[in-house]
């Protein structure tokens, strides 16, 4: 058991965005979070690296345990937590630095100065993100010269460089063309071997293709959580059935 959510409620001011969520995820799996817009799936994803902290007026109750440690405990160092839990965003957001410096960023802010180690890690991360062959000759070029799909893989490489144990992905392919999307999906499939991945997606087929387990959210509630194959073939709840077959949402 690795990631456990216990009785989590989350409020934006008066609005309750998550209602009593209980869920357990296992190591080295891909968990897909699905549901209509505004159902709370992105909010739920951001619980794990405490990105919700950046928003005003947020109140969270309950426990989120990673390795048995409640990350909402007072003793938790948020920056330290975020290093263990990487995140990839909907829109690629590279820094206006070189390709190399983008990947090295996470290492540098950790005070790592060993040049050889940094070069090794950058290379490995880019290889893992399936970007190395495309960029190895232009590492010093600005990250903005890459295409959207390449930028997104760069952001993944940037995340992998700090060796997280869990990678959160918030609709990582929604802003990309089909070919780039396919590359990202292949990549996710590979990364599963080393990382625990939680991914929010709008795309039913994508969820079916890449995830081991799927959680369906609706109006801030967790409706159903099960093996992906089960969710997409014979879900327990009618709401889930309606959503995955495209009857609403």
């Amino acid at each position: 058991m690795k990631v456990i959510t216990k009785n989590v409620n989350l409020f934006y001011g008066d609005f309750q965005a998550l209602k009593d969520i209980n869920l357990e995820m296992e190591m080295n799996t891909v968990t897909a979070l699905i549901g209509p817009s505004g159902c709370g799936k992105s909010t739920y994803l951001r619980l794990f690296n405490r990105m919700n902290d950046l928003i005003d007026n947020v109140k969270i109750t309950g426990e989120v345990l990673i390795d048995g440690q409640n990350i909402y405990d007072k003793s938790t160092q948020v920056d330290e937590l975020r290093k263990k839990i990487g995140m990839v965003f909907q829109k690629p957001n590279p820094f206006p630095k070189s390709i190399f410096e983008n990947v090295a960023f996470g290492l540098r802010i950790n005070g790592i100065n060993d040049k050889i180690y940094i070069e090794e890690t950058v290379k490995n991360s880019l290889i893992q993100a399936a970007l190395w062959d495309e960029v190895k000759d232009k590492l010093k070029k600005s990250a903005f010269e890459l295409s959207g799909g390449q930028q997104q893989r760069l952001c993944i490489a940037r995340t992998l460089a700090i060796q997280p144990s869990i990678v959160l992905m918030d609709e990582p392919a929604s802003a990309l063309d089909p070919i780039s999307t396919a590359k990202i999906e292949d990549l996710i499939y590979d990364l599963k071997k080393k990382y625990t991945i939680i991914i929010v997606t709008h795309n039913m087929q994508q969820a079916a293709r890449i995830s081991d387990k799927t959680a369906f959210f609706y109006m801030g509630e967790l409706i159903e959580y099960d093996k992906t194959s089960k969710i997409f073939t014979k879900p327990e709840k009618e709401q889930t059935q309606n959503y995955v077959t495209g009857r609403f949402g």
Binding site: N49, M51, L54, D56, D79, E80, L81, R82, K83, G86, M87, F89, K91, N93, P94, F95, P96, K97, F105, G106, R108, I109, N110, S142, F144, C155, R158, T159, I162
Partner: protein
Amino acid sequence: MKRNNRLKEKIAFTIFSIVSFIIVIILFLIIAFIFVNGISVISWDFISKMPTDGMTGGGILPAIVGTLCLMLGSIVFSFPIGVLSGIFINEYLKDSIFKKFLSLMTNNLAGVPSIVFGLFGMSLFVNHLNFGDSIIAGSLTLGLLTLPVIITTTEEALKSVDNSVRIGSYALGASKLQTIKRVVLPIAYPNIITGLILSLSRVSGETAPILFTVAAYFLPRLPNSMFDQVMALPYHLYVLTTSGTNIEQSRPMAYGTALVLILIVLIFNLIANIIRKKLGQNVKMK
């Protein structure tokens, strides 16, 4: 009916374009007038010699040096405080009454007439802190005057930084300070530098704040320390035009001084525009 409306539009737009060009022509007239009259005065001697013969001959070296001292002195004081303040307001403060209060105070300070800065500087720095008429008193007064400019340009520069890169940095475990230092400031700095240059240009031309805090009527030597009085270009121009010993004969010197002042402003504006264009392009998000 329709044709009538078209005609009205045509007339209105023609008037607007004419007025806009008149304004630009006024600008060119002022610059050209001073250029034509001043260019013959400008020579190496003019910018490298002391004034002589009751300010009707020689050069304006002490005024140039004095103005440079004031530019440097004021910016040393206001640039760090202004940038830090801009960072705090934009990066640390959420929309709150305190933030509104700070921006209100910044705007109020920006609206204070320059002569009031002069009064204040004289009272606090010259008299109470006993700096006397000195570079330091003048620099502090001018620094205070440019503080709002630097704060607002810093704020604007930081605001234009896309929030997604901040979030990206936090997600990698960077702290707030690291995010600002390593991600936000590198993106924002061309615009911050632009603000710095424009405020330097403003300092070079301000007269009222230095009248009673530093400016010397006639002092044909270079300053030794920051507690020295100095001449300054804008005040020198004022003196040459209105209260010199021989206004008629020092007129050419006045044209020359005005031209030097205008050139400083033109050059600084040009540099600012180049920086904005060149450096701004590198960090533009696609």
